[in-house]
Symmetry: C5
């Protein structure tokens, strides 16, 4: 973690990443609840919302759409990723070099590390190269720190998530994206392990508004610096409304209840 | 996908790739129905037909024949490929660098990705390098997006083909060549997933004229931007006639029936 | 081993490395005895103690904290390391290049070699590159020489430790960090094998003050040039006191008994 | 295949390669029938015969002997090769870079591809690099195209040899060396598959004069452009005589019978 | 093999390499017969003996001791090597680059090839790189040609040793170090296979003076150009005496009997 390296993707020290790599990672099935969400243009439009501090996409989407949004959206280029078509220990491909990410206008790069996978060593070495290249290009570094694989029994236990957050700090991530460990205490533990590396929670599968916002509220209260969210925004009927509410909870540190009340009173 | 990157291999936004890498991928057996088709010169001659927007061949054929056709044929250098002599999970060799493809006069490069193969991660990383090198040389990028391997139960199901098309978009292909998913709806779904990446269907094994043209017509109606065809052209007795008909269906958006009627009335 | 290459991390030819890579290697569990030790700032503060000749941390901690301590702490950048989340033969990832270590202000680099692991050959080749890069940047080289894996029955036997020390010398380490082989004789044997490469003992798990200091004393008497210590300092209630005592034993060559008496009389 | 790239190793479009890599590939056992043949100098002397258009050796022999023969012998540096001491799927080591081959004075390079081996993909990628480097140095490229391995049931069937010849063309070889497929028809099929890539037959184990020359005659009649021969020349009592006869059959297109008659009448 | 490339490590065309990499390859156990031999300084001193044409050590020893001996000792930097702590098919690590060897003042480099190992292909490719780098730096190349592994039934049979010597020649070694094949005939066969590559015998385990010198004598008579020796010198009580005797046998071509008589009469 380097002082101020992630400033371009933060606002008042907080982070709200709109993540949209589901087309690669999960395939079209993630767009079925709302077929229009398959259209990246809709997501790039959403990313112009004030609450969103960065949009995370793979190289192909950045190439195709970012030229039209360069002024209104902050680009976090997700460097690695893979389909779920194949089988085996967690692994992932580096689909974009940092040089090319910079050329596309990215302000930061994202990288998944599957701690606990039999491929962890190789992934960590790929992360090293990405990290040092990012430093050369003055890009922030966000680690998707996701323990997973033969060695990991429970990938959302507080112990696992705390370790994941610490890996972010030790290896040099400016922001570590981790799964919600089930409780505010667990999130506080993870935050405590990460030092100045900003811990943000991963949005996960879609849940109802209140439950989702309350989880985010508890994470923020526990010291998390924000959220990376995909399906919980774009699979909703009214994604703008949930972004408004998230803005309240994350940047204004309002409670979920208050955020919902403000929304309903509009 | 980058705006206009594939212009050199399109005509009015449509694509008709004459593909001729069967000698490497399948071996001499593909030339048995019509032994003269083993002679690359015949295919380079066919590629001068107005309907053909690019000829896809391996490096060796480009070296040997392209110097004589450089003015009349657009070259799509197929970068990877392998024989079917060996056994194991789908994999393929990078037989040509982008630098050398450019030197040979290519306007675009082709690359096979076997999504779902246990080698997908490695292939995707080779694709990354080819893709970024192609951007440097201003060459279009065509992905043969062919899910195949241990993890893929049905390699022409609509779900698989839609995922394959999306991989093309996410990873940066300007054109994604996919198998026909069995129906116009399936093809429309794939097209919907690919955003501005042009989806084209793969010609596959030889079928009769009507059936073949009707399939192409349904693909075009579903939003596909064209076709990559090999055996369904060169294994025919009169490949010129079928190219005329394909020109009608793809570029003039005539029906298969009308295209056949025009041919028969000549 | 190169003449004077490690001078920056020695004092009167002796070495006391404060090692703090437990967050990566073992995870948060190592901070449980004293939760405050999870905070790297506490350890950087400790590293300003006169007794400490270098602080060994991973890249991420150096990035985040070293800028504030550059004048008061000597940085030994630990280049490789991995989590204990995964399973299999001992292996470890190179998380930092020597170039980047130099940029961060390191005076020396650290590298783990698991002799006896089925990955030894690969690790040794990674060490070669790190070693020669370090020579170019005039950085000292410390090898964590830890035989471990399928081929190693007893990783603290005198034979194993002597071999580990010799690997340090043969491969070019300026300092070889080895486990305590259970006796002063064993340590003397290891020292005898290492020629001018400085052998230092690894602190290991926390033990009581007297036992710990007596082991250090016996190592120093046997010719070891110092200690690399983590948990036996930072897991203590009063880490300053133990550092004072270590300074007595290592640099003043006082006995453990005398060091403890001096402490108690203060 | 590139126009004229192999001119330096041809004469009137024909090729007679004296191959002498048996010391590496098979070991001393190949020299037992005639122990003097272990001496490379004898073979370099033979290679000055007018019939020989190139001498194929490994790097070590070229280093040691070629300086004395540079004016009288055309050097074809065999880039890869391996001993038969080890076990496993066919594989081979790249023992010489193209750069170094050029430095040694080579006019062409040779490369073995084991199509059908589980290592085919890797070998093909090594061939790519050698091929493109050879183009940069204006060296001809000869492929030893030898399908072999788990996937290949009959490595001299006409189908296999035709595929092997086609691989030479598709991948860019100027000359493809294949085994004799047992009949003139088989050889004609292979030649037909290779387009402008010159197909030459491999000499194989030693046979009697008539049988050997008749096979060469049948290959030439079938369109082969020559021969690569080792044991069938150097294991003979009078290798000069057989080279004279081969010159008749290959370059003068005389029959084996006539060539033998001319020899016997001298 | 390149004309004169190994001149710096020969005297009148003969070679006597004092080899001292046992600390890495075998560990401290090799120093037990004579504990003082663990001290590299003793061996560097021995290497100043007139009989010794080069001292072979790993990088670490060269770094530490060679600066003090640069004027009196010729350095042969052994580039690869590994411990015997791990298990599996013979393999070895490249511990030093040729560039760094040159920087350390080496006149030649040494490299082990385990022909017959399942890692032979990889080792041969590493040898290629070392060999070509050595040519650029005008360093001689000595191959430790040691067939070993799953494919090798008898690693000292005359057939195996002859093959090993030939590998040295074919791959470009200036000197090939092989085991003694049990007889003068076997050694003569090996020498005959190696052409101008100098064959030297490996000293092996310690034997009595007469037996050792007679073996060396028989090797020299058979055409070997010398010896690489470690334990048979340094494990002796009076290593100087045996070096005197070896000088007689190797450089003066005296018989073992005469050499022993001369020694005893001093």
């Amino acid at each position: 973690m380097k002082q101020n390296a992630a400033d371009a993707i933060t606002r008042d020290g907080k982070v709200l990443i709109l993540a949209y790599d589901h087309g690669l990672e999960h395939g079209p099935v993630d767009f079925e609840p709302n077929p229009e969400t398959a259209d990246p243009e809709r997501i790039f439009d959403l990313a112009t919302h004030d609450a969103v501090t960065a949009l995370a996409v793979q190289k192909g989407l950045a190439e195709a759409y970012y030229p039209d949004y360069a002024e209104d959206v902050t680009l976090l280029l997700k460097l690695n990723g893979t389909s779920n078509l194949w089988m085996g220990e967690p692994d992932t491909a580096v689909n974009c070099s940092v040089e090319y990410a910079a050329e596309l206008g990215a302000d930061a790069v994202g990288f998944t590390l599957y701690g606990g996978s039999n491929h962890e060593v190789e992934l960590a070495e790929e992360f090293r190269e990405a990290h040092e290249d990012a430093r050369e290009h003055d890009l922030g570094v966000v680690m998707w720190s996701y323990p997973r694989g033969q060695g990991v029994k429970d990938d959302t236990s507080p112990e696992t998530i705390a370790y994941a957050a610490r890996q972010g700090l030790e290896l040099g991530a400016d922001v570590a994206k981790v799964k919600y460990p089930g409780s505010a205490e667990g999130m506080a533990e993870a935050v405590g392990m990460a030092g100045p590396t900003k811990v943000i929670m991963s949005g996960g599968s879609k849940t109802d508004d209140r439950k989702f916002l309350e989880t985010v509220e508890s994470a923020i209260d526990a010291g998390a610096k924000g959220l990376a969210v995909g399906r919980n925004v774009f699979q909703r009927e009214n994604p703008i409304e949930i972004l408004d509410a998230l803005e309240d909870v994350i940047f204004e540190e309002r409670s979920a209840t208050e955020a919902l009340r403000r929304r309903d009173s509009e």
